[in-house]
Amino acid sequence: MSDKKMLEVTGLKVNVADKEILHGIDLSVDAGEIHVIMGPNGAGKSTLGNAIAGAPKFEITDGTIRFNGEDITDLSPDKRAKAGIYLSFQNPVEVPGITLSNFIRTCLEQKTGERIRIWTFKKELEATMELLGMDPSYAERDLNVGFSGGEKKKAEILQLLMLKPELAILDETDSGLDIDSVRTVSKGIEQYRNTVGGSLIIITHITRILDGMTVDKTHILADGKIVAEGDRSLIDNVNDKGFDQFINK
């Protein structure tokens, strides 16, 4: 893995509906690293993930986001995606009129600017769906329409594996999943590590998804600030004692 800085967030302040949610976040992710962001509900974890991906609802009022040395603070979400950032949504949106398969192909074609060879694409898609335990029929169903919560999350990981971004932000991908689905998602993340070798920011408040995974750094986010940082042992600490210890009373 290269030691170059991939993502550098500096002094990031973010408003949602004119209310400041993040009060100055610093976060630095190197190529190939796995970072975990934990914190109580309403701490601003999803806000951070969405702000990095460029969601228009999240207004950056101060600070910068640099990706591979380029200032992307003002870039539109599609340009960030093309630069290599991927956000796995907490609540994936249903889009009628385009099938999951066609959507992924369209995204790939947009990204590479080249026509995708259908046969190669289909084979890779089928293999990846099998890995994720998805029924092949989902490929020809409209994007997320009528998918169960679990299938929606798997479809997010499927897109991650097909689009192969340099940085994946997983926004509570594990929430609402049963134990088998969490295992499947973990398997998908492992596959992403093995084949793409990209960096990960895993936003979660449960830790089952991290079982058996190397974690380079853990950040505890509370009230819009990073209140603690450490290595994997911090996760065990949180599991034992909860978040209260980090929050100023």
Binding site: P56, P77, G97
Partner: protein, 468 residues
């Protein structure tokens, strides 16, 4: 998102082109009995048709201007050249069609569309049919597909006289009267008892000369137990002088017969499209309308189904796209006049860049319609804050024993959906085009593949400005 993407007005020049009409024969502007006589003579009308035209003109001059929909003040009847005829006669062979007319058609993609699998093409250039062809096996089934002018003198003359403008009488409204006086060109189709035409018949309409109106008449009679899919596609070049289209479509669906009538209209944006379409359905018969309206400056378009026999069915599926300077008043009418009749209406409308969409529906259930079922669903999508969408559903129920439902939604493109798609690398326009195509999916999946592709191209053209 700080970086906003500006969506340019689309470049319609892809569809807006024309050739000079130098050699073409024109009648004087303005409408007098002399002009109507001249048209009648040129066409070699039988006596009854000449009288019909003159009577229609009288009605036209007597009844007031239609005022139901959007303003048509931009229309100056004195300025409308009602009849332009290309200087060519009917051609059965594509090779004999004049080169520049062929070129116009080729730019519209007509020869490509006319593949082996397609039954026949009646292509209309200005007011006259210049090309007519029907596949031999369809003709061998006894199916008649011709222009009305020829049919008026052939073995089906009586059949035409019996049906012509009986569903849409000249007294119906001002433009029906105008149509009765100056109609020209169009198609006549007769499908005999029990014959199922497996491949769609197609017809293309197009306006070319400046200020020329187009008044084509489509008369289709599908006999007992027979089936026909008829496709009408329209697009016209752009001009500054107001253009008028006041065609008429009359469909007669026999007992247990079925007609599917599909249209994609893409008139240029100075067109007044005041078209009238009507079907009457006998016992156990079915009419299916599939309608995509994209072009024109002002449209009044409400295909009507008269369900006149027990168990008759009507299905209407429509999509209307109103962009800048477009005021499109579309919808449908259903008259349920027999027991156990059913009608379904399913429409989508999209407005963008200040475009105005009005959905208008009328469902009338008479005392005779015991056990009737009707469901109306219309959904509207506004792409921005300057566009407009209205829904005007009317229901007149005079029967207690029936099941009637209506639902309407008006929505905007959700920011969350746009962000979701953009986060995967699609541009804002691509994302919105995808959402709009998905929204109009109800119609595109009802269309044959090449038309579905054309419709999606039109949506992309409107939304992104290029054909992908």
């Amino acid at each position: 998102m700080k970086e906003k993407t500006h969506v340019d007005d689309i470049n319609r020049s892809i569809y807006d082109f024309r050739f000079d009409e130098d050699d073409f024969y024109k009648v004087d502007s303005g409408l007098t009995p002399e002009i109507v006589m001249q048209i009648s003579e040129e066409k070699g009308d039988p006596e009854w048709m000449k009288e019909f035209r003159l009577k229609s003109l009288e009605i036209f001059n007597r009844i007031p201007m239609t005022k139901a929909g959007p303003s048509i003040e931009g229309l100056n009847m004195d300025n409308i050249v009602t009849y332009v005829r290309p200087n060519t006669k009917m051609h059965a062979d594509w090779d004999e069609v004049p080169e520049e007319i062929k070129e116009t058609f080729e730019r519209l993609g007509i020869p490509q569309a006319e593949r082996e699998s397609l039954a026949g093409v009646g292509a209309q250039y200005d007011s006259e049919l210049v090309y007519h062809n029907i596949r031999e096996d369809v003709a061998a089934q006894g199916v008649i597909y011709t222009d009305i002018e020829s049919a008026l003198h052939g073995p089906y003359a009586d059949m035409i006289r019996e049906h012509f403008m009986k569903l849409i009488p000249p007294t119906d409204h001002k433009f029906a009267a105008l149509h009765g006086a100056v109609w020209s060109g169009g198609s006549f189709v007769y499908v005999p008892k029990g014959v199922s035409v497996e491949i769609p018949l197609q017809s293309y309409f197009r306006l070319n000369a400046p200020g020329a109106g187009q008044f084509e008449h489509t008369l289709i009679i599908v006999d007992e137990g027979a089936y026909l899919h008829f496709i009408e596609g329209c697009s016209a070049p752009k001009y500054n002088i107001a253009n008028l289209h006041a065609g008429a479509v009359e469909l007669f669906v026999g007992k247990n017969a079925k007609i599917r009538y599909s249209t994609i209209e893409n008139w240029s944006k100075n067109m007044y499209n005041l078209n009238t379409k009507r079907a009457i359905v006998e016992e156990g018969g079915t009419i299916e309308w599939v309608s995509g309206s994209f072009g024109s400056h002002v449209s009044y378009l409400y295909p009507m189904s008269i369900l006149n026999g027990k168990g008759a069915k009507s299905e209407f599926t429509g999509v209307t796209f109103a962009g800048k300077d477009q005021d499109l008043d579309t919808g449908c009418k259903v008259l349920m006049n027999a027991p156990d009749t059913t009608s379904y209406v399913n429409t989508r409308s999209i407005s963008k860049d200040g475009g105005i969409n009005t959905f208008r529906s009328s469902v009338v259930v008479t005392e005779k319609a015991k056990g009737a079922k009707s469901a109306v669903s219309c959904q509207s999508l506004m792409v921005d804050n300057i566009s407009r969408s209205d829904t005007i559903p009317v229901m007149d129920i005079r029967c207690a024993d029936c099941d009637i439902g209506h639902e309407a939604t008006i929505g905007r493109i959700s920011d969350d959906t746009v962000f979701y798609l953009m986060s995967r690398g699609l541009s804002e326009e691509e994302a919105k085009a995808l959402i709009v195509s998905g929204f109009a999916d109800n119609v595109s999946k009802e269309l044959p593949l090449e038309y579905a592709v054309e419709m999606n191209n039109l949506i992309r053209l409107e939304m992104v400005g290029v054909i992908g």
